[in-house]
């Protein structure tokens, strides 16, 4: 199994751990000030409203306190003045693979991007530090009117759609990091799917941090018009640096009446990356938004994908897998805001803590007054591998009024010694037995991932479990 899938989308750690020296054409320098924001605006030729938006966000960023009253104090190790906020080789993404600079091409080829595209993707965008280096959409999909471009291009070329939804699902001041993103955002995807269009193959984006001390702040906005369907997948890697790197994205999804959006993330940042991402979707009547979120990498991830169910019978779902290895803290979860009758939400979270790893589930479910027939189901299961491992669960559920039902269940357990013994008896080594057991634990969720990802995930779990015994 493992050899056959070597060339699949790389989410294996070692695959991402390389870098090239790149001569950046644009570099905003180290540190953050109003000047940095002006520099980014200059380079990106921002319209006046975007520049204003950035400055306003910067003020909010300065006002907002670090959320350490509830979140990890590790956040205090992010020194905002030591980070580089903008690095690029030009703001126009290349449409043809041949035009991509050699060093970047090598990067993405190692990660298998064009290969993937040839195989089954409907479109791909690859971001290298601040800007999209390559962006292409298959002709057939483009003809249907689907727009898939970088967010910078989106706001310049499609302002009528972009501006209507940009910053509407996640307000600038939602939290300190969404404010930071709003101030310095660059890159990310903009997708618009016209009414009734069902994009058969997934659209994919690939995020790559190459430079040391760099902060990546991509901004993604996906709008699925009435009755349309789209699936978006993102992957991310970075080389291992000694110093902390920051990734702070904002992702907004809008599913109009009857639309369906599936958003798949496989996060495999190197263990020096602070991954602080705000993701939220707005589901209109009978629309469906599903986040499939897998966190394997990073030093500290704080990510709670949310769905605001604004229209009747809207549906939100979060499927989350977190693997916290030595030194990692995966602080993940979900947010479900029911804002209309008969809305339903489902959260399934499974986490595995290995070595000194810590996995945290943090959830919020909110059912306001005078709604009828809202349902939420939350299940969180945690598996602890070693005696030093740690897991936490912090859900918050608010229900107002009768006629709704919410249930939350969580369990924490160890790998069953009996299972391991049984397998060992049949000649399977302890390590392999552990892998099988862990894979069995997440199997029902892994199957919801696109095939390429699920195969990789399994393989990755095998790798992580190696040497975790004893």
């Amino acid at each position: 199994m493992s050899t056959a899938t070597q060339t699949e989308i790389g989410i294996d750690r070692s695959v991402g751990d390389f870098r090239y020296d790149v001569n950046y054409e644009f570099d905003a320098g180290t540190g953050l000030s109003a000047k940095t924001i002006d520099y980014i605006s200059e380079v990106k030729k921002d319209p006046a409203w975007v520049r204003e938006f950035r400055h306003d966000a910067y003020r909010k960023f300065l006002e907002k306190p670090m959320p350490t009253h509830w979140a990890s104090h590790d956040l205090d190790n992010i020194i905002f003045n030591n980070i580089r906020y903008y690095l690029s080789q030009g703001t126009e993404p290349k449409r043809s693979w041949d035009d991509v600079p050699e060093a970047m091409k090598l990067t993405f080829e190692r990660l298998g991007i064009p290969e993937q595209e040839r195989k089954f993707l409907a479109g791909v965008e690859a971001q290298f530090d601040s800007e999209a280096a390559y962006s292409n959409i298959k002709a057939a999909v483009g003809e249907q009117g689907v727009i898939f471009v970088g967010s910078g291009e989106g706001l310049l070329k499609h302002p009528e759609i972009f501006r209507k939804w940009f910053g509407k699902v996640i307000p600038t001041g939602d939290n300190k990091f969404s404010a930071l993103n709003s101030a310095v955002f660059s890159g990310g995807s903009f997708i618009y799917v016209p009414p009734g269009v069902k994009v058969k193959h997934p659209l994919q984006a690939y995020f790559r941090i190459n430079a040391e001390n760099f902060g990546q702040f991509e901004r993604t906005l996906i709008i699925a018009d009435e009755g349309s369907e789209v699936m978006y997948m993102e992957g991310c890697t970075a080389p291992k640096f000694e110093t902390a790197t920051l990734h702070s994205a904002v992702v907004e999804l809008v599913a109009l009446k009857g639309a369906k959006i599936q958003y798949v993330t496989v996060q495999n940042w190197s263990p020096n990356v602070f991954n602080l991402v705000t993701k939220r979707g707005l589901a209109h009547e009978e629309a469906e938004i599903k986040w499939i979120d897998c966190n394997i990498g990073s030093r500290l991830t704080m990510k709670y994908p949310g769905v605001v169910m604004k229209g009747r019978k809207a549906r939100g779902e979060v499927i989350s897998i977190a693997l916290a290895s030595d030194g990692q803290h995966q602080d993940t979860g979900a947010k479900m805001i029911h804002a209309a009758d008969e809305t339903t939400s489902n959260i399934v979270s499974k986490s595995i803590s290995v070595g000194t790893g810590r996995a945290t589930y943090r959830g919020l479910v909110h059912v306001p007054r005078h709604l009828k027939g809202c349902k939420n189901n939350t299940e969180c299961d945690a598996l602890l591998i070693n005696s030093k491992s740690r897991t936490d669960t912090y859900p918050a559920i608010t229900v107002r009024g009768q006629g709704n039902s919410c249930q939350h269940e969580a369990s924490v357990s160890q790998i069953s010694a009996e299972q391991i013994f049984y397998m060992q008896q049949r000649g399977i080594s302890e390590g392999a037995a552990m892998s099988l057991s862990v894979n069995g634990f997440v199997n029902d969720l892994v199957q919801q991932f696109p095939m390429e990802y699920s195969v990789e995930l399994k393989r990755l779990i095998d790798l992580e479990m190696e040497g975790s015994v004893g």
Binding site: V399, H408, V412
Partner: protein, 444 residues
């Protein structure tokens, strides 16, 4: 308290003033039932109360809480009760009990401990501080208050005047329950009830704490109880809170469970306008067990804010929490529970569940069931559900001639009664069961 204090415009009448501090230092010679070292502790506690900032909305232990409800300005120290005899006569609990202790407005009114077994000590706290100083010093408020109300625990300690002290020596079983009554009387009166229970090795006892208002007027209660179970001890502790429906109350509980000891605690909240309950169970010995149960029939504008901690320090311990809330009218509940399994607390078996039964469109239930696990060989589960009465059950009863309103009450009664099955003592179960039914307006 004199008029002078009002003039000095302190935020509440519990803070000290320069005059008071002066007075405290000179009044030493005056006869006080408390030893000097305790009064020093009280002075330190008062300073602590004053120095500790009031809870803010952004404090995680006060998430979803109602900070505005914590305003103490209106409250004043309680005066003497109008009729001691009346309160003593009204202190009716079980038919058979082994001892009874009655307090009214921070004063001991009655003590009946004649039928307690040899060696069992039941006395007011101030007496214990002198006669059983060693035990008192070791156990009195020995646990730091970790669940958010540190400030109010300090206030409690500073303003405490009396309370119940129970010591059950090694290998002693008190067959019949001990009943404690804490009354409050008067508009805006403040009481500081305290119960300290120390169960020696392999002892066994049942205690019922009653918290009552004699006149149904708004009051402020700030109570603390400390329960200590030494190796193999068995304690059943029942708190029946029935303050006036617009009172402000803090009930801060800590239970320390030693090796192979077993604590079963039930808290029933029938009264109170805003009640903040904090319950900590610390399992410090192997094989210890703690059951934390709560019954909360909520209606009107009443709010209850409960924070719990199941702190597993030792391996092979188990804890089981079940909180039942029924929410009618505009009632509001907050449940924030945490199971914490420390490093090395292997073979922990912990369970936590809150169930909210929503009876009205205006009610609000907030649940935060939490887990923090730092040991791997454990089994921990928690759950939270919010739902409504099953229409089919109501229909079933209606079709048999039971009116819908009665049917609802019956279902509610069944919802709460299910929890009493945890009690081994039949008379105790019957007594609590009757109390629940009465509160729900069901004719027995």
């Amino acid at each position: 308290m004199s008029e002078a204090i009002k003039v000095e415009a302190v935020s509440d009448r519990f803070s000290s003033t320069d005059k008071q501090r002066e007075a405290a230092s000179t009044v030493r010679e005056e006869a006080s039932p408390w030893p000097d070292w305790f009064r020093d502790q009280q002075a330190a506690a008062l300073a602590d109360y004053e120095a500790t900032p009031a809870p803010a909305r952004t404090d995680e232990p006060w998430r979803f809480s109602n900070i505005a409800a914590l305003d103490l300005t209106a409250f004043q120290p309680a005066g003497p009760v109008t009729s001691e005899g009346g309160l003593i006569n009204a202190s009716q609990g079980l038919e058979e009990f082994s001892a009874k202790l009655i307090f009214g407005n921070n004063t001991l009114l009655h003590l009946d401990s004649d039928s307690l077994p040899q060696g069992v000590v039941l006395q007011p706290l101030e007496e214990a501080s002198r006669e059983n100083e060693g035990l008192f010093r070791k156990y009195f408020m020995a646990q730091p208050v970790e669940l958010g109300s540190h400030k109010y625990a300090a206030l409690h300690q500073a303003r405490l005047t009396t309370g119940a002290f129970l010591y059950v020596p090694k290998n002693t079983e008190v067959a019949l329950p001990i009943e404690l009554f804490h009354w409050v009387e008067g508009e805006n009166a403040s009481v500081f009830p305290h119960t300290l229970i120390v169960c020696g090795e392999n002892s066994k006892v049942t205690v019922i704490d009653h918290f009552k208002s004699s006149d149904g007027k708004r009051a402020f209660a700030c109570g603390v109880n400390d329960l200590h179970l030494e190796r193999g001890a068995q304690l059943t502790y029942i708190a029946v809170q029935d303050w006036a429906r617009d009172s402000l109350a803090f009930h801060i509980n800590s239970t320390i469970v030693g090796r192979d000891a077993c604590s079963t605690a039930i808290t029933a909240n029938f009264g109170g306008g805003f009640v903040r309950g904090e319950s900590l169970s610390r399992l410090v010995g192997e094989g210890s067990r703690s059951e934390m149960l709560s019954i909360n029939p909520m209606d009107g504008l009443r709010q209850i804010d409960q924070r719990t901690l199941q702190d597993h320090v030792a391996p092979y311990a188990s804890s089981d929490l079940l909180y039942l809330n029924a929410l009618d009218d505009k009632a509001r509940t907050i449940f924030a529970g945490l199971i914490k399994v420390g490093k090395g607390a292997h073979k922990t078996d912990a369970y936590q569940k809150v169930r909210n039964l929503m009876l009205s469109d205006e009610a609000e239930a907030n649940s935060m069931p939490g887990l923090e696990i730092l040991a791997d060989d454990v089994r921990c589960t928690h759950g939270a559900t919010s739902g409504e009465i099953n229409e089919e059950e109501l229909f079933y009863m209606e079709s048999r001639g039971i009116r819908q309103s009665d049917g609802r009450r019956l279902i509610l009664n069944g919802f709460f009664q299910s929890l009493l099955e945890r009690l081994k003592s039949e008379p105790l179960r019957a007594h609590l069961s009757r109390m629940i039914s009465e509160k729900l307006g069901i004719q027995m």
